[in-house]
Symmetry: C2
Subunit: 123 residues, 2 copies
């Protein structure tokens, strides 16, 4: 299989909004050069998830790890995303898409955010 990773974020009107997600991608590439890791957005920014998956499929990717860079599980991840994934699986039957939990379900990340918030609250 040929793999790609898609970092999936909400999107916003303000271009500055994408910067943390671009920085996460750059850090991943610095740690693992040559990794196929792309950004995709639910709305307001490009590429859309549909375009990112189509680009992967066109390149011969057969396995996609989709990592939602969302803080929490809400309607976007519980309703919108499964519908999109089902439609994408139909459109690209040769591509397997596996979806990770949102970052707010990773204990280590919550621990660090809590420690950072404690530092901030002591400032």
């Amino acid at each position: 299989m040929t793999f790609a990773t898609i970092l999936f974020a909400h999107g916003a009107r303000d271009p500055q909004w994408a910067e943390p997600f671009e920085r996460i991608r750059e850090r991943m590439l610095a740690a693992r050069p040559g990794l196929d890791v792309r950004l995709a957005y639910l709305e307001l920014m490009t590429p859309s998830l549909e375009d990112a998956v189509a680009a992967c499929a066109a390149k011969g990717v057969t396995g996609i790890r989709l990592i939602p860079l969302f803080m929490a599980q809400g309607g976007h991840l519980k309703q919108d995303l499964p519908k999109k994934i089902a439609a994408l699986q139909q459109r690209h039957p040769g591509v397997v898409i596996a979806v990770s939990p949102p970052i707010g379900e990773a204990d280590a990340i919550l621990d660090l955010i809590a420690a950072w918030a404690l530092d901030e609250s002591a400032r």
Copy 2:
């Protein structure tokens, strides 16, 4: 001064969405029992930021550290929040409100998210 910390999140229709933020608050309290740390939401969940600040003021709080639990700087933090803070400062002149950067601007958090995303992409 009497201090309080407000963790400010976007809010969503789905109650499950609040869980990571509640867990962050619980971890802060576990590390620093007695800390006055509250959640507040921009929309769709309660309390609103206005209600949380009013509750702090009613309790005699004179300094609030507001920590936006947003991944990135977009219209909500660059436009909506400053307007809300200005209105709150007028309504509660005895309460000083200091605003932290969003979590996506904390390098250590981006590093950990990138490391976690690398682990996920290797699964």
